[in-house]
């Protein structure tokens, strides 16, 4: 039985691949949603920070002799720390201004960071191996699934759900949400709101770096890897609804799958399909699929 002339094996394979790409979209858009939800900053540096995560993994291996698993732990902390510095030095002056200022600042930063890396490392990228434990793959009958890709889906789902739980279901999360609604009142209860905001930004950036480490063995560790992805991720966030945590996760995975299917039926359109969907969603539901109208 074929679906529209595509054998079912190919279709299942593409669905699964879409899910894998969706895992990256979900994790990156999640970080953006957290940052936008809590700081009201449209963080255009996100792609560069994802790229920095991959580079951090490369450096840790090359100069520190620390392998993939250590990188998964350390790279988000290191890159997150640079995020904290950026927030303290620059972003915090912009909270009271229009979104546009934050966008311009972070976009500028992204260009600078990417330019510096490109100047130093060129554009072909640097190789990074799949960790020994995750090489090889499973033959699922309809496709060959590399173990590493399976790992990416599992771990990113876990991280996404943990983040959602942290923000929507824990006490810390409720402080955070309260602080965005009414910072003065929360501060009056003795909670250090500026520090919480700083750490939130660091966390969002750390998520991007985490995705970067996950991506390093699949793609080249390249200065351009973030800029390839960031625009798509922004479309995902807009479709899901700015600032909505669940929206970011669901649309991330969902759009990955749609993009995967496009690659079967009409590959030439695979780089544009997400933007077509974005345009349609914006026309019908301007706040996004999961967004609240404020």
């Amino acid at each position: 039985m074929d679906f529209f002339g595509i054998p079912p094996q190919a279709l299942f394979g593409q669905l699964l691949l879409g899910l894998i790409n969706g895992a990256f979209y979900a994790m990156l858009s999640l970080g953006l949603a957290v940052i936008f939800g809590m700081l009201n900053i449209i963080n255009f540096t996100h792609g560069a920070q994802y790229m920095m995560g991959a580079f951090a993994a490369y450096f840790l291996l090359q100069y520190g002799g620390l392998g993939y698993w250590w990188s998964l732990l350390l790279a988000p902390v290191i890159v997150g720390a640079t995020g904290v510095v950026i927030e303290r030095l620059m972003l915090r002056h912009l909270y009271k201004l229009d979104h546009l200022y934050g966008l311009l600042l972070t976009f500028g930063l992204a260009l600078i960071i990417q330019g510096l890396f490109q100047n130093e490392f060129g554009s072909s990228g640097l190789p990074y191996r799949i960790p020994q434990e995750l090489t090889g793959g499973q033959n699922l009958g309809f496709m060959f699934l590399p173990n590493y890709r399976a790992w990416v889906v599992v771990v990113s789902l876990a991280v996404c759900l943990a983040t959602w739980f942290l923000i929507e279901r824990t006490k810390l999360g409720s402080y955070l949400r309260a602080a965005t609604e009414n910072p003065a009142l929360v501060q009056a209860f003795g909670i250090n709101v500026p520090r919480m905001i700083t750490l939130t930004y660091g966390f969002g950036v750390g998520l991007a770096a985490f995705a970067g480490v996950l991506a390093a063995p699949i793609y080249q560790v390249s200065p351009l890897m973030g800029s390839n992805l960031i625009i798509i991720v922004f479309a995902v966030v807009v479709i899901g609804g700015m600032g909505s945590i669940m929206g970011a996760i669901v649309t991330g995975f969902g759009l990955g799958i749609i993009e995967g299917l496009t690659k079967v039926f009409y590959p030439e359109a695979s780089s544009t399909v997400i933007f077509v969907i974005m345009a349609i969603v914006l026309l019908i539901k301007p706040a996004g699929l999961f967004g609240r109208v404020q």
Binding site: S123, F144, Y148, L224, L229, P267, E268
Partner: protein, 402 residues
């Protein structure tokens, strides 16, 4: 006052002109146009600018009375950006020669403008064989390689080794389409079959979906009709999805030494591909590499860099002889003079603008065979100049007298 200055300048220019070459604006201005920031920046980029400078130094242009100036710009692989830059160069900045120009879609656009403005176009980076075929121009020389030569070198060898059914992963623009067509023709001529093709957008990070389709096609050979970062990602991810373990062979149709470096030999070993230059081939190439590499972060030169060097050098020889920078006249002289440079040896430029030299079928070494960083290639076969490029009559170039 202004008029007086202008007249004086004219008179002075005239005086200089009688002593030296008749150059518009008093200088020969070379514009290196390529990808300075995207996926082709390592195979072209600054390396090409450095190579052009080295050619001018080695020619000792200043001592021969030719004042040369080199400028460069980033076309971002977009034909509209490239066209606008080149028009500005010609109309405002007095550029006489455009060199390099990778990305066939951009090169084809620039080709038209150069002809319209009667300047010189030295193509090294672009691959489309149309530049010396139906789009050929009296102002263009295509130096380093083209899709026909790649197909002829790599595809022929692979079909001969039993790879008779092909599936293509094709970059969706002029270059990819042309390369797919050229290779397809070679495969069919050798009684092979093309079972399908999938076209991916330029600069795609994830190839898994396309690779899966290629895998499902059961073709013996998966031809990568793409370049630079796209090829690197295809090969890397093909390894991950066990393509070669499943018995299918990858054919990188356009591979550069920097791609092999980025992939690492572990992944790249055994790949066969066609090029016209390898930095470690002889003393002259090693010497060239030794001078160029330190200026581009230690990357060894690609054949495109070598082509920029050699084509600029040959162009300077022509300008020295005819003492003008009139585009069509310079190119006509370039075709008349036999070429001779340290990197490509002796050769000729045909009427259609095609530079003729040997091509080489290389194979990436196994990690154990490599003596160190950048020791990557072994030569499988030298394709003699006479059979390396498309026969003159088959190109359909209007400059060729029938």
């Amino acid at each position: 006052m202004k008029l007086k200055t202008a007249l004086t300048a004219l008179a002075l220019a005239g005086m200089i002109g009688t002593a030296h070459a008749q150059l518009s604006g008093g200088v020969l201005k070379i514009g290196v146009l390529n990808d300075q920031s995207g996926l082709y920046a390592d195979v072209t980029g600054q390396g090409s600018v450095v190579a052009a400078r080295m050619a001018v130094e080695d020619f000792k242009a200043e001592a021969k009375g030719i004042k040369v100036e080199i400028v460069f710009a980033d076309h971002q692989n977009k034909p509209d950006v490239g066209s606008a830059l080149v028009r500005q160069w010609f109309d405002r900045d007095g550029v006489d020669v455009v060199a390099d120009v990778p990305t066939s879609s951009v090169a084809l656009a620039v080709n038209e403008i150069v002809k319209e403005k009667n300047k010189v176009f030295l193509v090294s980076g672009a691959a489309s064989a149309a530049l010396t075929g139906n789009a050929c121009s009296p102002n263009t020389v295509h130096w380093t390689y083209d899709n026909w030569a790649l197909a002829n070198g790599t595809a022929k060898a692979i079909v001969a080794a039993g790879g008779d059914s092909w599936y293509f992963l094709t970059a969706d623009y002029a270059f990819g389409h042309d390369l797919e067509a050229q290779v397809g023709a070679v495969v069919k001529a050798a009684n092979g079959r093309v079972v399908g093709a999938v076209r991916h957008p330029l600069s795609t990070p994830d190839f898994s979906s396309f690779l899966l389709q290629a895998q499902a096609s059961k073709a013996k050979v998966i031809g990568l009709a793409n370049a630079g970062g796209d090829t690197i990602n295809s090969i890397k991810q093909a390894g991950e999805f066990g393509i070669s373990k499943g018995g299918q062979k990858l054919a990188g149709l356009l591979i550069f030494v920097t791609d092999i470096h980025a992939l690492g030999l572990q992944t790249a070993q055994g790949l066969q591909f066609t090029e016209s230059f390898y930095w470690d081939r002889n003393d002259a190439s090693r010497d060239f590499a030794k001078r160029l590499a330190p200026q581009v972060k230690g990357n060894q030169p690609t054949m495109i860099h070598a082509g920029v060097y050699a084509s600029v050098l040959h162009m300077l020889k022509a300008v020295e002889q005819i003492k003008t920078d009139d585009g069509a006249k310079v190119v006509a002289k370039m075709k008349e003079l036999p070429t001779d440079d340290p990197l490509f040896g002796k050769g000729v430029i045909r009427e259609d603008g095609r530079k003729i030299h040997d091509m080489f079928l290389f194979e990436a070494k196994a990690p154990a065979e490599s003596k160190g960083p950048w020791d990557y290639y072994k030569t499988v076969r030298t394709i003699p100049a006479a059979e390396a490029f498309r026969p003159l009559a088959e190109g359909g170039c209007s400059l060729v007298k029938k």
